[in-house]
């Protein structure tokens, strides 16, 4: 009898308090977070068109973190493979480096490239990195969630923007939800949806975009591309 009462009390306690506790913990960490000296975090939502046969192109999420004398860089999403076909996974440096600076500076037409760069906090960076690491694991284990990886990439970009906004509004959102008001999903093929989504987010968040001129010198394109070497994985906890 006592065991039964205990189990019911436990269930009730879990029922009433668990979600609030979990949400509060993660957002408290973000609210109290302070960057250590020189530590900066950025997320870049980047996309191009007119690369693949149906006129879509690479669309991916890039993370940049600088701390001390180290810069961590990486991008995950859809990119062109060696044959110019769409591929889903870790984006090669040669591809994502195009978006280390404003696309216009690379000679890309404004209509065919979009880049939204936001400065974010450490906890936001960790959450987005966790999303990308999970997709990295799914690709490695061949355990994607949809039969078409264009849909997986849409899920990835939605999860990324959801995580950025989890505790506070880091960017003005667009409701990419296949709902009645969602024109992007209504009028575009799956491969092109992330590009249109990033374009809309850029339009809604122009004021939050970090321009090339506002980037620290050691995180500017010329500096970072000059440092490119053989690819080696960076550990999360370093």
């Amino acid at each position: 009898m006592q065991t039964k009462m205990f189990l019911r009390a436990l269930a009730l306690l879990t029922c009433l308090h668990a979600p609030a506790i979990f949400a509060a913990e993660s957002c408290e960490a973000e609210a109290s977070w302070k960057a250590s000296d020189g530590e900066r975090h950025f997320v870049v939502l980047a996309g191009r068109t007119d690369v693949f046969y149906e006129r879509s192109g690479p669309t991916f999420v890039m993370l940049i973190r600088s701390a001390g004398d180290t810069v961590d860089l990486g991008a995950f999403g859809i990119h062109a493979d060696a044959n110019g076909h769409p591929a889903f996974g870790a984006v090669p440096a040669s591809e994502y480096e195009t978006f280390l600076g404003e696309p216009a500076a690379q000679g890309l037409a404004k209509s065919s490239a979009v880049m939204l760069r936001l400065e974010i906090s450490g906890p936001q960076y960790e959450r987005v990195l966790r999303v990308l690491r999970t997709w990295e694991r799914r690709v490695a284990e061949r355990a994607l969630l949809y039969p078409d990886f264009a849909l997986d990439n849409i899920l990835l970009v939605r999860q990324t923007t959801d995580e950025l906004n989890r505790c506070r509004q880091a960017l003005v959102p667009y409701a990419l939800d296949w709902g009645l008001d969602d024109d992007i999903s209504e009028h575009n093929i799956a491969l092109r949806i992330p590009f249109e989504y990033f374009k809309e987010l850029k339009a809604l968040n122009v004021a939050r975009h970090v321009s090339d001129a506002s980037m620290p010198v050691h995180l500017q394109m010329a500096t970072l591309t000059a440092q490119r070497g053989p690819q080696a994985p960076a550990k999360e906890d370093e």
Binding site: K4, L7, R8, L10, A11, T14, C15, L16, A18, P19, F22, D69, T70, V71, D72, L73, G74, A75, F76, D81, H85, P86, A87, F88, G89, A90, V91, P92, A93, L129, L132, T134, E136, V139, A140, E141, R142, A143, L144, L145, Y146, P147, F149, L151, I154, L155, R158, Q159, D162, D177, W178, S185, H218, T223, L224, Q227, Q231, A232, P233, A234
Partner: protein, 217 residues
């Protein structure tokens, strides 16, 4: 200044369009889970392989759909009691594995009178649960798939021995749910089907004699 790559781009961690080896997770993922009795199990090998199963997703703190679904499943379990745990099994998988440990699931099952033979409540690693959720309940619709709660209102019935998958909403009538479960029953022998048909015809005859028409459809 040192530059480090967060991800390594190799053919092993990239999916190329059309590659057969890069599809979705296995049809029924064989992920490691724990039952409400804290017993480790493999989803496919231990729970589904060669069996007929009824699967739903829930979580212990769910106040909307889950209690109603669990209540309907208790009724279904009662109706199929002689088969439960023999050739038919029920699995309720948590949508919130980080919150629902085996003890919380046991408490939920106890609270709803669902500690019954052949019925297991399951938890596990969040990554594996998500793999399972998409494999069994995917809508191919980003909004619905992103919201795990949307998957609490569905029942997946699988008979692995004949590779038959059936889906029904648990909020349908008990008779409808039972009918859907029967659609995944193992095929009967010709003699058994003829015997069933004779019994059904007798019942129809009795109803027509009594009411003048077939009363129960």
């Amino acid at each position: 200044m040192k530059r480090r790559e967060l991800f390594v781009s190799t053919s092993g961690n990239t999916c190329v369009q059309g590659a057969r080896t890069c599809g979705t997770a296995e049809l029924i993922p064989n992920v490691a889970l724990r039952t409400h009795d804290d017993v480790p199990v493999r989803f496919y090998d231990d729970l589904v392989k060669g069996k007929q199963v009824v699967i739903n997703m829930m979580y212990a703190t769910c106040e909307g759909l889950c209690p109603a679904v669990t209540s309907r499943l208790v009724e279904v379990h009662r109706a199929l009691a002689p088969r439960m745990g023999r050739d038919l099994f029920m699995y309720s998988i948590t949508l919130k594995p980080n919150e629902d440990n085996p003890a919380a699931l046991r408490a939920y099952a106890d609270m709803h009178g669902a500690l019954l033979p052949g019925w297991k409540f399951l938890t596990g690693d969040a990554y594996d649960i998500e793999t399972l959720r998409f494999a069994l309940f995917r809508h191919n619709h980003i909004k619905f798939d992103l919201d795990p709660n949307g998957h609490a209102g569905r029942l997946r019935i699988i008979n692995d021995s004949i590779n038959r998958w059936v889906h029904v909403t648990p909020l349908a009538s008990k008779a409808t749910v039972l009918q859907h479960i029967s659609w995944a029953d193992p095929p009967k022998s010709l003699e058994q089907r003829m015997q069933d048909n004779r019994a059904l015809q007798d019942e129809i005859g009795r109803e027509v004699a009594r009411y003048g028409y077939r009363k129960v459809i």
